[in-house]
Amino acid sequence: MSQDVFVVAEHLQGKIDDVTYELLGKARELAGQSGGHVVAVLMGSGIQNQAGSLGAADKVLYMDNAALEHFNPESYARALSHILEQNQPRLTLIPNTSMGMDLAAAVSVKNNLPLVAYATDVQIDNGQVVATSQLYGGKINVESVLEGDSSVVSVLAGSFAVDAGKQDGSPEVETVAAPDGLDQTRVRFKNLIQPEGGDVDITQQDILVSVGRGIQSEDNLPMVEELAEALGGALASSRPIVDNKWLPKTRQVGKSGLKVKPKLYFAVGISGAPEHIEGMKDAELIIAINTDPEAPIFEVAHFGVTEDLFDVVPALTEKLKG
């Protein structure tokens, strides 16, 4: 049992993801409250040098094994479960990402640890871990108290500043032996598939007009495309549009799509699920049209319109064309 705060480092293709630094920065604050240390958990193969970019941690626990060369839901969950069993930290922070989702709920069951997911804030309040989750599509925040001496919180990317946890340095690196038979998995990594190129790179555009479910039908896309043209920008979208195959995956903004930071982000019929907000909240100017005044998109937008998009969009296009 310890008062330490563990952070599971996420990496893909040799690069530590920024969410790791967000969590390390937060962990520094929490370790101050709990009176423990900040420990980064790094799992991989031949990536010990990455520890040097985890300078915000007091210590890096590094498990090196061929079975950890690529993320694998089974080998990584077993490795993390083993590390948590040995160390029993006060709190373990895991990114609520595609990879982290496979780990947090797994160690909650394997190690019988309380778990709160979708957190946007964590505090240690009078010795108790309190996590605030963003639920119901970002419409409701839920504050939970986690019981017991050790617990897990999975945190949405974009919740904390990256800078506080992004420090080079040479934290103490402790190598941890892998549990036996870690390579005996029922899940086997095959290969990585890179996104298709050739389309407009929406991360490089100054102006993005982004469409969401409110557009209702593929037939209405040209109307929004015309607005994008009139503004001199490109068309982007939220996830449902890409799932419906109305636009290619290269146009998707958000958690499983691209992170964009244009000068203008014009959201048309997007409600603003947390997964979408994560990808666009840093745009310089956000204007949103959505008929639901409670839509979470208006939390991050600078200007909002609740009139019908089918009236406003053509009116705006016409005036822009002058």
Binding site: T97, V116, S144, V187, L192
Partner: protein, 255 residues
């Protein structure tokens, strides 16, 4: 392949959500529920797999307001069996408990694959599929967007950020959290659902284990602070358009 699709009802987010007087739950008296949209995708992927490779699709839901309708609709879309878990597990029950209940029901069933929605709007204590897989001790992959059988196993694609995907080969049985089916979930005509309601039967089972260590409790629920929020632009569509253009000019985005 025999595929199980556990589904759950979540509050319809299009409607306004209110918090109860204690501030510890939604005010559920006037809530309307709908099937978790990711579960719709899980069901669609299951139906596609069945059409391509044979087998059966069994849909399992927890008893609640519209459960029968949800299950009949699934049959109308092409599912073979519909099972209702009759324990008192109202909406908002933690996923650890639901996963435990499902695990105990599934331990008496034959299956190759379990497809769940990758997440739901009320997953406070983690995602159902991952919890279920760990209670059952079968492999799992979440955020999956393509499932294809290969040599007695299946190949799945898992999505990462930035459009990168990883491909995994997974031994059966397995649990996958489906992000998106390969096609838009199909629609069942009302007439077909009505017909199914007259002909099909929903099996009822009781889970014999619903004890799970959740280890957390809700202290407070609240709506996000409005903070600065958006400045709302009002007027006729033309007036709004004028206002937007003025803003774009002020910010130097449009001359």
């Amino acid at each position: 392949m025999n595929i199980i699709v556990p589904v759950k009802q979540v509050p319809d987010l299009v409607e306004e959500l209110e918090i109860n007087d204690d501030g510890t739950d939604l005010d559920r008296d006037y809530l309307s529920y709908k099937l978790n949209e990711f579960d719709e995708h899980a069901l669609e992927e299951a139906l596609l797999l069945k059409e391509e490779h044979g087998g059966t699709v069994t849909v399992i839901a927890f008893e609640g307001d519209d459960t029968d309708k949800v299950l009949y609709t699934a049959i109308a879309k092409g599912a073979d069996r519909a099972v209702k878990i009759t324990n008192d597990l109202p909406p908002g029950t933690p996923n650890h408990v639901l996963a435990k209940a499902l695990a105990s029901v599934l331990s008496g069933m034959e299956y190759d694959l379990i497809l769940t929605g990758v997440q739901a709007a009320d997953d406070r204590d983690g995602q159902l599929g991952v919890l279920l897989a760990n209670y059952l001790d079968v492999p799992h992959v979440s955020v999956v967007s393509g499932v294809a059988p290969s040599n007695g196993a299946v190949t799945v694609q898992k999505e990462y950020a930035g459009g990168v995907m990883a491909e995994f080969e997974v031994d059966l049985p397995a649990v996958f959290g489906v992000q998106a089916a390969r096609q838009t979930p199909r629609y069942a005509p009302v007439s077909r659902v009505r017909q199914v309601m007259r002909q099909a039967e929903i099996e009822e089972v009781e889970a014999n284990d619903t004890e799970a260590n959740i280890g957390s409790s809700i202290r407070r629920m609240f709506k996000p602070e409005k903070g600065a929020g958006a400045e709302m632009l009002e007027g006729s569509p033309e007036e709004i358009a004028e206002k937007i253009i003025k803003i774009l000019q002020e910010k130097g985005i449009k001359k």
